[in-house]
């Protein structure tokens, strides 16, 4: 007997079983879509960055308040990084303009305590924005530390962040969401991400977010 015959017979065996129709797959598809919307509470990146800010607070000396405006200041370092001091969550457009003047395209949102922006507003360059659920703060720390977004904007003290343009590719937008923390020691928390080059960043739709 031809050695291929068995294989050919097997290939045609039950070939009359048809591929599934969309109706037959509707239930499975719905289960998948339900599964893509996480039900359990996630540890979010802003929370971790807040923790970084809190840790930095212990080591950081009293704050230098920018003297060009009372709300925020942008200073360019000799290494090309920008130090942004945020004393007051006021006038996000002004901060954007300042960053733009320093060569960084940004989208800045200031939120009051208990607010968040509905996600997704944009397509992030890495998994730190809207990525898959991360189990626990360890996994999150790993994700964040390895990401370009977190290198581009780092919380360096309770009122300052460092922006490193070397990690921002042409056309990308640095998206910054500051949230009032209701705490004079740690006045705000930051979510900082990079949006993919030349893709839109939707305005923030404010939602309740206790996180």
């Amino acid at each position: 007997m031809d050695s291929l015959k068995g294989m050919d017979s097997l290939k045609t065996m039950w070939a009359a079983v048809p591929p599934a129709t969309p109706q037959e797959l509707a239930g499975a598809r719905r289960r998948l879509l339900d599964g893509t919307r996480p039900r359990r509470r996630l540890v979010t990146v802003p929370r971790l960055l807040a923790a970084a800010g809190a840790a930095a607070a212990v080591a950081v000396a009293p704050l230098v308040i920018g003297n060009d405006t009372p709300a925020y200041a942008v200073a360019k370092g000799s290494d090309g990084t920008l130090t942004v001091t945020v004393n007051e969550l006021r006038d996000p457009d002004g901060l954007e303009a300042k960053l733009s003047a320093s060569g960084v395209k940004s989208d800045v949102t200031f939120l009051t305590a208990g607010q968040g922006c509905a996600a997704p507003r944009f397509a992030g360059v890495d998994a730190t924005y809207g990525g898959s659920p991360v189990a626990g703060s360890e996994g999150l720390r790993e994700l964040v530390n390895g990401s370009r977004s977190s290198k581009a904007a780092q919380v360096t003290s309770v009122r300052t962040i460092r922006i490193s343009p070397e990690y921002i590719k042409p056309g990308e937008t640095l998206v910054l969401e500051f949230r009032d923390n209701g705490n004079a020691q740690i006045p705000w928390r930051l979510g900082g991400w990079l949006a993919q080059a030349d893709t839109p960043v939707q305005p923030c739709t404010i939602v309740e977010d206790a996180g």
């Binding site: 065996m13 129709t21 037959e24 598809r29």
Partner: protein, 190 residues
């Protein structure tokens, strides 16, 4: 979320990567591969469990998508590998299906019309095949059916089951030998 045409045309690896930020995009992967995966599972387990296995496969894949090797543009080996595991947990369903077929000559998901055209000849071949499948070791059957029914290459089967290509070849040889023997016994009327 609207899914753009551009998303529909990119390869699986790109889709999976984009789904890290836009989870809904994973549905495009589902639409692309679920119809044939469902067919494959139905051939092995029958229609009643196929939907569950397909749903569980894609949910498991979604959960693990961060670990996906983006060097592999085609996600089928990954998906069929996950499905193979789930099928393996339903071995009794699978063997019951083969037994029922040997008795009745009808696969529960076949379109009846097509089967009638050459029903007698088909049955004369399919019955011994079902008997042979029933007699195979599970690992050999997985390899054989991924090649014959899912149309994966040796390398893709190796990727799917996380085994070396040499193991794929040896399992396949063993399984094919048993299939050939089953068919020739039938021809000799044994």
């Amino acid at each position: 979320m609207t899914i753009s045409r551009e998303v529909i045309e990119v390869d699986d690896a790109t889709l999976i990567e984009r789904s890290l930020n836009e989870p809904e995009i994973f549905a495009v992967l589902f639409d692309r591969h679920a119809p044939l995966l469902h067919r494959y599972v139905t051939r092995r387990l029958g229609p009643s469990e196929a939907e569950d296995v397909v749903a569980d496969t894609f949910l498991a894949a979604f959960q693990r998508r961060g670990d996906y090797d983006r060097g592999r543009s085609d996600a089928r080996p990954w998906l069929y590998g996950i499905a193979s595991n789930l099928i393996g947990k339903r071995r009794r369903t699978e063997t019951n299906l083969y037994r029922a077929y040997i008795r009745s000559g009808v696969h529960p998901a076949e379109i009846p019309g097509r089967q009638l055209e050459d029903g007698v000849n088909t049955l004369a071949v399919n019955r011994p095949l079902a008997r042979a499948l029933l007699g195979l070791a599970r690992a050999d059957r997985d390899v054989l059916l991924l090649v014959a029914w899912a149309e994966l290459s040796y390398q893709e089967v190796a990727d799917a089951l996380a085994i070396p290509p040499g193991t794929v070849a040896s399992r396949l040889n063993r399984a094919r030998l048993q299939i050939r023997q089953a068919l020739s016994q039938e021809e000799r009327g044994e």
